[in-house]
């Protein structure tokens, strides 16, 4: 978390009273807050890369909060969600949490619980963002490898010796060593273990 950046808390609740109160509360603890009456309004909002989280009311006109969570996932928008509801029940909360919600609070909730949940969500968002950044960087490095180097990296990660790789790709062992050295250098990997960890992280973005 970089101190210079102020995280933003988005609030979606059709009840203006609740929306404004939560907004005010969030602001009172020095965070930025933005309120929306519907999910659609929120979707139209252009978001920054700053850390953020979403306080979402379950009962919304037209589309329920839970449906909205699904819509966000389908759009690939990853934002930690804290559900608030005046009408919660256990199945509903289980469903929400399974789908990745940070917290499920029943109105009237304790404000500290909400603030804690917001903190947690922001933290999670930061972590997620860091991880995302790391992968992104590795991927940048990965993209600098040649096709032959990609192959050699995959085989190295799979635990093959230089000799095995040589016979596999039909090259000399010396050539394989050079490729392997390039890979380690380009990927900025200090050891074979580090490279294997990097390859693991890259799995989420690079198709096998």
């Amino acid at each position: 978390m970089k101190p210079a950046v102020v995280p933003t808390v988005f609030i979606v609740d059709d009840d203006g009273g609740v929306r404004r109160a939560v907004q005010d509360l969030v602001e009172s603890v020095g965070l930025r807050a933005e309120g929306f009456a519907t999910g659609e309004e929120f979707l139209r909002k252009k978001r920054t890369s700053d850390p953020c989280c979403l306080v979402l009311d379950v009962r919304l006109p037209q589309m329920s909060g839970l449906d909205f969570q699904r819509v966000l996932a389908n759009f690939g928008i990853q934002i930690p969600i804290i559900f608030i509801t005046a009408h919660g029940d256990i199945p509903m909360s289980v469903r929400a949490l399974k789908s990745g919600a940070v917290e499920f609070l029943t109105k009237p909730f304790r404000n500290q619980d909400l603030l804690d949940a917001i903190q947690q969500a922001l933290q999670r968002d930061c972590t997620a963002r860091e991880q995302q950044n790391e992968v992104h960087e590795l991927h940048e490095r990965y993209l600098t490898l040649t096709a032959r180097e990609h192959t050699v990296m995959d085989l190295v990660v799979d635990g093959m010796s230089n000799k095995q790789i040589a016979s596999e790709i039909g090259a000399s062992e010396a050539t394989v060593k050079i490729h392997r050295g390039n890979v380690m250098h380009k990927m900025q990997a200090g050891s074979l273990i580090e490279l294997v960890r990097m390859a693991d992280k890259l799995k989420s973005v690079v198709a096998p």
């Binding site: 109160a21 509360l25 006109p61 589309m63 005046a86 009408h87």
Partner: protein, 792 residues
């Protein structure tokens, strides 16, 4: 005879003698001629010698030639008719003995057998008395001289005249008799002298003693009925002046005051100059005939009037023809001018279905002389169908068949009435059987039943076919506990002469089953004491049904209450949500307020804003609680207000959104913008919306879906609301049943939601119904009439 001596004298005497002889001869000849012309002969009978001398004419009278033979007593006697012989000579002897000169009339038989009647007279002068032989007897003629005349012709004429006289006498008597019998008298009225003669009968006709006194025209005039007098004399006068005969019917008044009707016929006699000198006429008493005629006319009038009134026509069918009465023509709708129809024509009038049977009856009548009595249908020429009862009776006089007489009666009305009665009776019996209501007529005072319908038997557990039952049998079935009240009711009604009704009492049927009956009796005011007619009905089933109905109604009420409680549960949950919102907002705002104050320096503006929000949200919570309370006031939903339908829909949508969310149901509203005000009780309208929306949510509970509410005012200004879902849809074939109480497709449903909805909508004169959607789910519609709409 003498002797004259003087010759001169002799001569003279001779001359004289000659003259005398000539004169004598002449005189004899004249006598002879006179005898011949007068058929008168003379005879001389010497009683001593019995020699008889006849003149020539006498011979002719006896059918003999003059002087054909000498005559003697025996021959003479032999020619007298044997039947007259004894009496003739007996009388002659008697006369002679008495000194009288016999006169006799007797018949003679001529030799050719001809019988002639003759009259013989003995002349006193020319008969010489007999010399007294003994002197004792009176002078007896010695010789008889007399004449004999053939009186046959005269006798015949006399006989003829006598016969004529007798005939005249007889015919007079007969005329008299006839006059008396037919009451005809005659008169002769001398027009010149004015005298009048009357026959005996005429006296009698006028009520007078025959020939009691002279009659004149003044008397006649007096006796004619004053009203007819002038007319009778005018007609007689006209007859005398111009016409020949006068015929006048008029009335007369007898001396005793009796009025008789007479018929006069008068003929006027005229002399050579054409002057009327006499009127001869007859007068007949026709009073009896007039009366008989009048009576006949009256009886004929009565007959035809009777036929007309009774719609009975009569007919006769015999060798002299076929007669139809006027009424008969009327019954058949025929014209009397065309005469009675032939058999073929008659059959053509008969209704086709009856024709064969009628033809058979007529055939039997004509061939076997068999009568009939049957009802047949006829079709009049104008197309009208009528029922007639035709009766034919053969006429047999002294064993000889003479023809038929018959009557035909129009029985259409009776027949239709009979049919109607038969039908009615069948319907009544049917109705009594179906409704378990029996009818009766009874005298409770005497304990007599006049009429008991079959259903009454069945109600009491008796078999109607087992014969009549005494009233007591029915009375005995009354349950002992109920008998006192039943009899008290009836006895009061008897004495008050009023109707009674026993709303409910029990009977024990012979098989032991208990039934509940109700009896209603109408007092028959014209009848004797205790006379009632009425009905008794079996109300057992009804009582059971009522009990069942009451039980169901109670259940319904209970369930309605449960439903309301359930609904209140839903409502409470929904309201809890609504309350939680402002409370949450308030708490959060309070926390924020505190935090703003805790800032250094305190952010007072933000704190103030938070405090303001707290106030607002707290008020909001209070309002929600107010509206919640209004739901509990459903017991008195009469208050109506002008309500914005849109607002209610929004409220309800808000209330049920949580429930919808939970089942992944989205709610859409398509609401018409203006004219959304309506005059209703808001809570009731909320209930309607809540029920229909909950119903829709329920239908989509497992699948999720879309709930759409649309509202608009249709051209007639009615509020038209549709609430549609995309759920399981309506159960097949029960689009209307779903509104019935306790109809539910949900395991936990009460089945009352839609029922209550309907009762509310209908209480506003509206209507609620359901339709299946084309693709998926169902739509519930309701309409509230415009009258409910606010005029504001």
């Amino acid at each position: 005879m003498g002797v004259i001596t003087d010759v001169t004298e002799r001569k003279l005497a001779e001359e004289e003698r000659k003259t005398l002889a000539r004169e004598l001869q002449e005189s004899n000849a004249k006598l002879e001629e006179a005898q011949r012309v007068a058929h008168l002969g003379h005879w001389e009978w010497d009683l001593q010698t019995n020699v008889i001398v006849w003149s020539d004419e006498t011979y002719r009278i006896f059918g003999l030639k003059p002087q054909e033979q000498p005559m003697d007593f025996a021959t003479n006697r032999g020619m007298v008719h044997p039947d007259d012989r004894e009496s003739l000579y007996g009388r002659v002897d008697a006369d002679l003995s008495a000194g009288a000169y016999p006169i006799a009339e007797f018949r003679v038989v001529r030799p050719n057998g001809e019988i002639r009647t003759v009259h013989a007279i003995t002349s006193k002068r020319w008969s010489a008395p007999l010399t007294e032989s003994n002197g004792a007897s009176p002078a007896h003629p010695r010789k008889l001289f007399g004449t004999i005349q053939d009186v046959t012709e005269r006798k015949r004429a006399e006989e003829k005249r006598e016969a004529l006289w007798r005939d005249l006498q007889a015919s007079n008597a007969r005329l008299e008799q006839a006059q008396r019998l037919v009451h005809i008298g005659y008169y002769e009225w001398n027009l010149i002298t004015g005298s009048v003669t009357w026959s005996d009968e005429l006296y009698r006709i006028y009520g007078l003693t025959p020939q009691a006194g002279p009659i004149d025209m003044a008397m006649v005039s007096q006796m004619i009925h004053p009203e007819d007098r002038e007319r009778v004399f005018r007609e007689a006068d006209e007859a005398a002046r111009g016409g020949i005969a006068a015929a006048a019917e008029h009335r007369i008044v007898r001396p005793d005051g009796e009025v008789r009707t007479v018929q006069g016929h008068g003929a006027v006699k005229r002399d050579a100059a054409g002057r009327a000198y006499e009127m001869f006429g007859t007068v007949q008493d026709i009073t009896d005939r007039k009366r008989a005629e009048e009576a006949l006319r009256r009886s004929q009038f009565y007959l035809s009037e009777g036929e007309r009134l009774a719609h009975i026509g009569s007919w006769a069918f015999n060798e002299s023809g076929h007669y139809w009465s006027d009424e008969l023509y009327k019954i058949y709708g025929l014209n009397p001018k065309n005469g009675a129809p032939t058999v073929e024509q008659y059959l053509a009038l008969v209704y086709p279905q009856d024709r064969a049977a009628v033809a058979e009856s007529i055939k039997l009548m004509l061939e076997d002389h068999r009568g009939f009595d049957q009802i047949e249908r006829i079709v009049r020429p104008d197309g009208q169908l009528r029922y007639v009862r035709a009766v034919a009776v053969p006429v047999v006089e002294q064993g000889v068949f003479k023809g038929f007489i018959g009557t035909t009666m129009d029985v259409t009305e009776q027949e239709l009435l009979t049919q109607e009665l038969r039908r009615e009776r069948a319907y009544l019996a049917e109705a009594q059987g179906l409704t378990h209501i029996g009818s009766w007529a009874a005298n409770f005072h005497t304990g007599q039943n006049h009429h008991v319908s079959n259903e009454i038997y069945r109600l009491h557990g008796f078999e109607p076919d087992n014969g009549l039952l005494a009233a007591d049998s029915f009375y005995k079935t009354i349950h002992p506990d109920d008998a006192p009240i039943v009899w008290e009711n009836i006895n009061n009604a008897i004495h008050a002469r009023k109707d009674f009704e026993i709303p409910e009492y029990r009977i024990c049927r012979p098989d032991g089953t208990i039934r509940f009956l109700r009896a209603i009796g109408h007092h028959n005011p014209s009848g004797e004491m205790g006379e009632f007619v009425g009905v008794t009905m079996d109300i057992t089933e009804r009582k059971r049904a009522e009990a069942e109905h009451e039980r169901l109604r109670q259940l319904e009420a209970d369930l309605a209450r449960v439903n309301r409680v359930n609904m209140m549960g839903e409502l409470a949950a929904a309201l809890a949500h609504e309350i939680k919102q402002p409370i949450t907002a308030s708490i959060t705002s309070a926390d924020a307020l505190l935090r703003w104050l805790a800032h250094d320096p305190p952010e007072l503006d933000r704190a103030r804003a938070a405090a303001y929000r707290i106030e607002q949200d707290a008020n909001r919570a209070a309002n929600v609680i107010d509206s919640l309370r209004s739901f509990y006031k459903t017991g008195t939903p009469t208050e109506r207000r002008v309500i914005d339908v849109k607002k209610i829909i929004e409220e309800m949508t808000g209330l049920l959104r949580g429930e919808a969310d939970r089942h992944s149901i989205s709610i859409h509203s398509e609401l018409e913008v203006d004219s959304s005000n309506i005059m209703v009780n808001p809570v009731q309208l909320q209930q309607v919306f809540m029920n229909l929306m909950l119903n829709a949510i329920e239908a989509m509970k497992d699948s999720g879906g879309v709930l759409t509410i649309s509202s608009r005012f249709n051209p007639e200004g009615r509020l038209f609301v549709s609430i549609s879902d995309t759920g399981i849809g309506l159960p097949t074939g029960s689009a209307e049943q779903i509104f019935e109480p306790f109809h539910t497709t949900k395991p936990q449903g009460t089945g009352m939601g839609l029922t209550i909805t309907r009762s509310i909508v209908e209480s506003y004169g509206g209507r609620v119904w359901a339709t299946a959607n084309k693709d998926k789910g169902a739509t519930f519609h309701f309409v509230l009439p415009c009258e409910a709409k606010s005029q504001v």
